[in-house]
């Protein structure tokens, strides 16, 4: 199985880019993670409670919620229109609010990728309240009106050369009540035990995700995690697993959010849809979800390289550490 780990450093200017120390730390942790992933057992298909840490939760919201509240989807008959007629109705637990606000340049010390002052139709960027206290309040809107919403809220966006549709900018998930991170873990164990599971899952990092919003296809999403731990009910140390994809359907997933913690993280990235790739961010606290489902990932079957890694300079022997690592990890099938 090919294993990947990635880090990106986004900033609005070179000055606010992460420094060498921070980058080195990130690179070291990538190496540690990858070495650990090589030894990690394969994940089994599983249904049960899970914690999505901030970045994972951000992408989770981007996919299962954000794309479904894009205004143009509410009036296209080919779309799933999951939320088209749900304005004013509760769609997630009452302690959660969600908004998209392109006018925020920074959260903490992170520059937000989705920051802009005017959208691509020349409309002033503004905060779009989407969910307040669990109740759907509105949509992301361009100048194309949709039922009940006649004016743009500055979310008409596009990649150069494409036609504008409504898109996310900086999506923010804001809980009314939040518990400390340790409490979130305790609640995960408790919930797993209640459901009769030996472990719950913890999603630390994801590479991205995708969702289908068209009718005819399933109204489902898939999130591609990279770092997933089993959190054992019996108190054993967390166990890294590999090869799990997180799958689900939006209404069910949103209604099962139990608790949020008082941390938050931002995922900066580029989002692709009809109007091309646009820079976006998603910021969320860690979330405990009562039930998620994971399935096995396509793992590939290529054998690892036959020869050991070559030496770093002409005439020198292969680097011993890597050689040892290759043997220890049982690279030879």
């Amino acid at each position: 199985m090919e294993l990947e780990r990635f880090e990106t450093f986004d900033a609005a200017s070179f000055d606010s880019l992460a420094g060498p120390a921070e980058m080195n730390r990130a690179i070291d942790s990538m190496i540690t993670d990858l070495e650990a992933l090589r030894r990690a057992p394969l994940a089994d298909p599983y249904i049960g409670p899970a914690i999505l840490e901030g970045r994972a939760a951000g992408v989770f919201f981007h996919e299962i919620f954000g794309h479904r509240v894009e205004g143009h989807r509410q009036k296209n008959e080919e779309e799933g229109q999951t939320f088209a007629k749900k304005v004013g109705e509760p769609i997630m637990p009452g302690f959660i609010s969600v908004y998209d606000d392109p006018t925020i340049a920074r959260i903490g010390d992170v520059d937000l990728n989705g920051f802009y002052r005017f959208d691509d139709e020349g409309v002033v960027a503004q905060r779009a309240p989407l969910v307040e206290g669990g109740v759907l309040k509105g949509f992301l809107l361009s100048r194309s009106p949709t039922r009940g919403f006649r004016q743009s809220n500055g979310h008409g966006r596009r990649q150069e050369g494409r036609v504008v549709v409504s898109r996310q900018g900086n999506l923010v998930v804001e809980p009314k009540v939040a518990v400390p991170v340790a409490e979130l873990r305790r609640r995960l164990r408790e919930e797993a035990q209640r459901q009769g599971k030996p472990y719950g899952l913890l999603f630390r990092d994801i590479s991205g995700g995708f969702t289908n919003t068209a009718r005819g296809g399933p109204q489902a999403f898939k999130v591609l995690p990279i770092i997933v731990y089993r959190v054992w009910v019996d108190g054993r140390p967390d166990e890294l697993v590999r090869g799990a994809d997180l799958v689900g359907t939006p209404l069910s997933a949103l209604s099962r959010i139990m608790v949020a913690s008082d941390d938050y993280q931002t995922f900066n990235g580029y989002c692709g849809a009809e109007s091309g790739f646009v820079p976006v961010s998603a910021t969320s606290p860690s979330l405990l979800v009562q039930q998620i489902e994971i399935e096995r990932r396509d793992k590939g079957s290529d054998k690892p390289p036959i020869l050991a890694q070559p030496p770093r300079a002409p005439g020198s022997p292969p680097a011993p550490r890597e050689r040892a690592a290759t043997r220890r990890d049982g690279a030879t099938p």
Partner: protein
């Protein structure tokens, strides 16, 4: 209804757009590191690479291509783009089995990967290691599949002793690589000036000048001890313009200029003169009459002669046989070139002879400065280039060969050539088409030959000066829609050829005409060549691949009279010309 709309991941960031790199000062350059990495990994791959009981590779070759490219485009005097690109690619060739039967000549494909640009031994070797590993495993899989396919087939006419890979002495070639950057500034002024000429022609709706300068350094090392370190250079300026007749028909014209380096381009006044002549001709075309469908006799002169030679001859000379193990149901015919099965047969009029000579340094009868894109010393399989006689007095005497042998020709003649992103295949280098000395005629003689053909009646005569040969991107191509909708003659015959500059000859008078296609021109039409001229044209172009990633090629051809060409008037609806007159340029406003 079933169209699933899938949204790409948030995190495909980084994959979305690869940054275009520009040549950077301070990038480590160390030729010996590149050579040592190639040598060391080659030695290890040859001696140690082996999967279980499977065979070791019997041949490993690496080709590293360092490309430096600069491009400038401009329209009506304004520069629209100017950028430089630098990149390094690796082509990995691993053969398992034996030269008699190996994993190649079965399914097409080549292994091309990006390499670090810096001359860093460790980074390069690491890539070589991993890419060789992949290529080897792929080769084993292909060999197994090829064996299975062969086992299931009854023997055909092919000689079973005919191998997959001919034995050739290893090439050793080193050409010192010139220092210096390839940068767009060298072309910027010229490109801008040439494009500004079109400000003087208000009816020309679109005008684009693109200048490209490229140097590709090639380093090739193989387990046969091949070592090639050389380079190819090319500069081309393409001047393309477009206008619309009042009936909406789109009209195009282009002028290419070629050189090996920017200083080798023709003097600016000379290029300006050529561009003005083109623009004037294009404007005249707007009011030219539309040609009529009917039988024609055509004099192809200027670039059109070389373009015709490309379409009828150069593209059909590969001697590579079809894969021996092609699936039993498939017809071999479609898998080799038109001429591959016609050795020793008449393929052209007896007055024509042709040879391909990549070793040609100077065009016979031309000034020594005329560049030849198709010149090279060693081909992309490491075989020294050879002059090959292809057609002698109309009879096919040779084919272009790679190291894949065919029954009649067991050895390569150094014509394996590879576009940047594909594997080598048989391709022309510098193709010289020539007329028998005493048969070569002056233009006057060629025109009287046309008159002779037309004498019996029922034939209209034309002079074609330029074709759309698909090598210069000419525009949106929307007028071709009608051509292909109505022009395929029921789906039979070769695709029609679209001439861009055509004159009809009536009573000794040449009249510019527009709106026609040439039909049923194919390789066998070379037998309908009844006369050839004295003054050969040199056409340099980059074949295949996207633009400059292709194979640099030269065709030298004299004017040709083809006695039997079907002329078809283009029909179909055109979009109206612009509703308003052009805004005009301050300097040229009327």
């Amino acid at each position: 209804v079933n169209r699933a709309r899938v949204f790409a991941a948030l995190a495909v960031v980084g994959l979305a757009l690869a940054p275009v790199s520009s040549p950077r000062a301070g990038v480590r350059a160390d030729d010996s590191a590149v050579r040592a990495a190639l040598r060391d990994e080659l030695a290890r791959s040859t001696a140690e690479l082996r999967l279980g009981d499977e065979p070791r590779p019997y041949y490993v070759a690496y080709t590293i291509l360092d490309t430096r490219q600069a491009t400038v485009s401009a329209t009506f005097g304004a520069v629209t783009a100017a950028h430089a690109y630098q990149g390094r690619l690796l082509r990995t060739d691993v053969r398992v089995g034996s030269p008699a039967f190996d994993n190649t000549n079965f399914e097409p494909g080549a292994k091309i990967d990006a390499l670090p640009e810096e001359d860093d031994y460790a980074a390069l070797r690491r890539e070589l290691w991993l890419r060789t590993d992949e290529a080897y495993k792929q080769a084993l899989e292909l060999l197994a599949r090829k064996r299975a396919a062969a086992a299931g087939q009854a023997g055909g006419e092919d000689d079973p002793a005919l191998g997959d890979f001919s034995k050739e002495p290893p090439a050793k070639v080193e050409v010192p690589f010139p220092a210096g950057e390839v940068e767009p500034e060298a072309l910027r002024a010229t490109v801008a000036k040439l494009s500004a000429i079109f400000r003087e022609y208000p009816t020309i709706t679109s005008a684009r000048v693109t200048g490209t300068w490229v140097i590709v350094r090639r380093r090739m090392a193989s387990s046969e001890d091949t070592w090639v370190d050389d380079f190819q250079r090319a500069v081309r300026l393409d001047v393309v313009a477009e206008t619309q007749a009042d009936d909406g028909m789109k009209l195009r014209d282009f002028v290419p200029f070629s050189a090996l380096e920017p200083s080798g381009l023709p003097p600016l006044p000379e290029m300006e003169k050529a561009v003005r002549a083109m623009a004037t001709e294009l404007v005249a075309m707007r009011t030219a009459p539309i040609a009529e469908t009917g039988a024609g006799a055509v004099l192809f002169e200027g670039l059109a002669a070389a373009q015709l030679t490309k379409l009828l001859l150069a593209d059909h000379l590969a001697g590579t046989p079809p894969p021996k193990t092609a699936s039993a149901a498939s017809d071999d015919g479609g898998q080799q070139s038109t001429l591959a099965t016609k050795l020793k047969q008449k393929v052209a009029a007896p007055l024509l002879s042709a040879a391909d000579d990549p070793t040609l340094a100077v065009v016979p009868g031309k000034a020594p400065g005329v560049p030849l894109f198709g010149a090279y010393k060693v081909d992309d399989e490491g075989v020294p280039a050879q002059r090959v006689v292809l057609v002698e007095h109309g009879v096919l005497e040779g084919l272009l060969m790679t190291r894949t042998p065919r029954k009649e020709i067991a050895r390569s003649n150094g014509h394996a050539r590879a576009p940047r992103f594909a594997g080598p295949h048989a391709h022309v280098g510098t193709l010289v088409l020539s007329a028998q000395k005493d048969a070569a005629q002056t233009r006057k003689g060629l025109l009287s030959e046309l008159a002779r053909i037309a004498k019996g009646g029922g034939v209209t005569t034309y002079v074609v000066r330029l074709l759309d040969d698909g090598l210069v991107p000419l525009g949106d191509g929307d007028d071709l829609t009608s051509l292909f909708t109505f022009g395929m003659g029921g789906g039979h015959g070769p695709p029609p050829i679209r001439p861009l500059v055509v004159y009809r000859i009536e009573g000794g008078k040449e009249t510019l005409v527009r709106g026609l296609a040439l039909e049923n021109l194919e390789t066998r039409s070379l037998k309908d060549v009844t006369a050839a001229g004295k003054d050969a044209v040199v056409y340099n172009y980059i074949d295949e691949g996207n633009g400059f990633a292709g194979v640099p090629t030269t065709i030298i051809a004299p004017p040709l009279v083809v006695s039997d060409v079907d002329i078809r008037r283009l029909t179909g609806k055109n979009r109206r010309p612009p509703l308003y007159p052009p805004p005009g340029f301050a300097a040229a406003a009327r």
